[in-house]
């Protein structure tokens, strides 16, 4: 085993991780550990834009943006956090421009802005042009720009290092409470274990979309950061709120940006009807994602779907000028051509909702400090991006707010972590901190026969798609819970064929599956307990929002692994405990959510 020591260790090199690294590397010795090369991160798949009330093309105001964010999140957004995000959005966009991001421009040469779902003028009057964009590859440009600036600053990366454990130790200096001591990482190239001692750790590992089968998420988005925190006894907040993006390529889940509708695209059912007029008369196709996704699923369920199995609806761009499509939506039209053989100039594109974004995650406060219960933080532990739940997205994230989230809270996490590392004392690593990770890996690798990883994963993903997707019921989720609990049992017998050390991605997938199963259970339990419908969480047996009982954040806990756990792959606990945390309401009282 190799040991390393840094002031700040950042886990994950997507948008949030690299934004944090840009802040912290100038202030403290920083290492970025990432299981992928930084430019492979899924930030690069984001398309539409990043909203900020710049008022470059029409009157706008960050307070309106805050309102839209709170309303879009079905009022379970922590409003102090949303205010910070929307206020700092303006600086975040300008910062990116100064770093070199090639935004599309207005005729005056300023950053151009366009409409996006759920973003409105003056508290819902009409759609507003708020999204700053670079064609339909804004996320790609953000990821590249951040990486470029990391190269410029000489940020130290450990590429293809997979962090498998978070080391917490009780620390005298922090009043005997658990504090960060470091992380344990597995080097993919050699199979070697590395221990990184650090004063501060920033989790920026992204989402967990792979708990679902149809998803816009990358194969590598397996909730690793959420999983390692959860196993160490830290809570997960609001994981039942999962966003299903309306326009995934039918059958594939590949994302077609909301920008397609922002630029004038229209959703139609098999009768050619623009059905969103019925569901959201004011802003129609630009309603928030949860509403559009549910409307689409409803059209299909009521027999107005298209295709041989009537299982999708159509995104119609044919009335737009091909030149306009090429200028504003080049990538996504290419996806339609490549993967479905559909020519968007002349044919509508088959689309269906796809699992897209985890609103929930590791709970943090507005300085990105991770909470270990409703009020107390873990000294030295930070989280930002999709892995975290601040919560600025509430029950449903507005389009473009994820790119905003990673930039605003990535930056805050980097600054806070570096500042903490400058003042804080080192926390002693416990003896053999790597033991749990070694056991975990060797148990799987050492098993001679058993079940294939892929079989379990398929069962998990198909179950989640069938039972816990856009429409949820007590019955469907009880069934899903049963399957997930069986999978926990079956996971004890999972086997890999590759027994080697170097680039053992077979082993990696087995470990990732463990996180997925663990998180799926939290999703289902949280959703079962939330007997209401709110944002991305829609219960057919409780179709109304219930502010009296459920205007609270879910906090899920499990029994933590011991400091020096010897349990190997029996990593799951029997019991997940659910608790609740109040929502921070500042100026917007919950109202009915109509568009």
């Amino acid at each position: 085993m190799q040991t390393h020591q840094y002031d700040v260790v950042i886990v994950g090199a997507g948008g949030a991780g690299m934004r944090a690294a840009l802040e912290s590397s100038g202030r403290a010795r920083t290492a970025v550990l990432t299981k992928l090369y930084p430019t492979r991160s899924h930030t690069g798949a984001a398309q539409g834009g990043m909203c900020a009330a710049l008022s470059n093309v029409e009157e706008d105001n960050w307070e309106w943006h805050t309102f839209d964010t709170v309303k879009g999140g079905d009022y379970i957004v922590d409003q102090d956090a949303a205010e910070i995000m929307c206020r700092e959005a303006i600086k975040a966009v300008i910062d990116l421009e100064k770093m070199g991001l090639p935004f599309n421009r207005t005729p005056e040469g300023r950053i151009d802005q366009r409409r996006f779902g759920g973003h409105t003028r003056n508290h819902g009057e009409a759609a507003v042009r708020r999204s700053c964009y670079a064609a339909d590859r804004t996320g790609h440009m953000i990821l590249q720009t951040l990486y470029q600036n990391c190269v410029k600053q000489g940020v130290e990366f450990y590429n293809e290092f997979y962090v498998l454990d978070l080391v917490l130790a009780e620390s005298e200096a922090h009043g005997g409470e658990p504090a960060v001591a470091g992380v344990i990482a597995y080097e993919l190239a050699t199979g070697e274990i590395h221990s990184f001692r650090a004063k501060a750790v920033v989790l920026a590992t992204g989402g967990a979309g792979k708990v679902f089968k149809t998803t816009s998420n990358a194969h590598t988005l397996t909730g690793d950061g959420m999983g390692i925190a959860f196993r160490r006894g830290l809570p997960l907040e609001d994981l039942e709120f999962f966003q299903f993006h309306p326009t995934g390529l039918a059958g594939l889940g590949i994302l077609l940006s909301e920008a397609a509708r922002g630029e004038g695209g229209i959703l139609r059912n098999s009768e050619g009807e623009r059905f969103m007029e019925r569901y959201a008369p004011t802003i129609k196709d630009l309603a928030p994602r949860d509403i559009v996704a549910r409307s689409m699923a409803n059209e299909v369920r009521e027999g107005r779907g298209c295709g041989p199995n009537r299982d999708y609806v159509l995104l119609d761009l044919t009335h737009l000028e091909p030149a306009h499509i090429d200028a504003k939506l080049p990538d996504i039209t290419e996806f339609a051509r490549t993967y479905l053989g559909v020519e968007p100039y002349t044919e509508p594109i088959p689309v269906y909702p796809t699992a897209h974004y985890a609103m929930g995650g590791v709970p943090t406060n507005t300085d990105a400090e991770v909470l270990r219960n409703n009020t107390e933080t873990v000294p030295g532990l930070y989280a930002a991006g999709e892995v975290a739940c601040v919560s600025v997205h509430g029950a449903n994230r507005l389009g473009t707010n994820s790119l905003l989230d990673i930039n605003v809270f990535g930056r805050r996490a980097g600054i806070a972590a570096a500042k903490f590392a400058q003042d804080a004392p080192w926390v002693e690593m416990p003896g053999s901190p790597e033991q749990h990770t070694l056991n975990l890996l060797e148990d799987i690798r050492g098993r001679a026969q058993g079940e294939r990883v892929a079989d379990l994963r398929r069962t998990l993903q198909e179950t989640m798609d069938r039972d816990v997707q856009v429409f949820r019921t007590e019955e469907s989720m009880t069934e899903a819970l049963e399957v997930v609990q069986q999978l926990k049992e079956r996971y004890q017998h999972v086997v890999v064929q590759d027994k080697g050390k170097r680039y053992n991605l077979d082993l990696l997938e087995a470990v990732e599956l463990g996180f997925l199963i663990e998180l799926a259970e939290v999703v289902v339990l949280g959703a079962l307990a939330r007997k209401e419908s709110r944002g991305g969480h829609f219960r057919e047996d409780f179709t109304k929002r219930d502010d009296e009982n459920f205007m609270v954040h879910t906090m899920a806990y499990r029994t933590p692994l011991g400091a020096n756990e010897q349990r190997g792959v029996s990593i799951f606990t029997d019991k997940v405990r659910l608790d609740y945390k109040p929502v921070n309401v500042t100026r917007y009282q919950p109202m009915e959510r109509k568009y």
Partner: protein
């Protein structure tokens, strides 16, 4: 268990045990403009050679008696004029340099070992030098009356 701490110099990720001299690590930085001029020269000489070569072919093959007219006397006649001496000299030098530079490029691109590269390039440059020196010498020291019994106009008129 090996231990590297923050003070350690090799704290960066050790991805592969590359040999001390990686074939990828850029060894030198040239700050001159040689490759630039060489690239420009290839284009310029190429264009010029098109004119020179086709001019040469046209005069030799299309005018007068065509190919049947090309003999010792014909060459002697041409080289008695400084214009054709200069034309042929330019053509020789440009063609040789253009070719040598092209082959140099190919050697650079396709040899794998530095020693092979050195040997091949040395041979190339020596051969080029030989051709150019000999060619130049021939053009300027060419004597049409080297045969004492020559019946050529230039010789009989003396």
């Amino acid at each position: 268990m090996s231990t590297t701490t923050s003070a350690d110099s090799n704290r960066g990720p050790v991805v592969t045990d590359l040999t001390t001299k990686s074939p990828y690590e850029r060894r030198t930085h040239s700050r001159g403009n040689f490759e630039l001029w060489s690239w420009l020269f290839m284009r310029a000489s190429g264009v010029l050679l098109l004119v020179l070569v086709f001019g040469h072919l046209f005069v030799n093959l299309m005018t007068g008696d065509g190919i049947k007219g090309v003999d010792f006397a014909f060459v002697a006649g041409k080289w008695s004029s400084p214009f054709w001496q200069f034309w042929d000299l330019l053509m020789l030098w440009l063609a040789e340099l253009h070719g040598v530079n092209g082959v140099r490029t190919i050697i650079n691109d396709y040899t794998e070992r530095d020693s092979t590269r050195l040997v091949l390039k040395t041979l190339l440059f020596l051969s080029a030098l030989l051709v150019m020196v000999l060619g130049t010498l021939v053009i300027f020291t060419f004597d049409p009356c080297i045969d004492p019994n020559s019946t050529l106009q230039q010789c009989t008129g003396r």
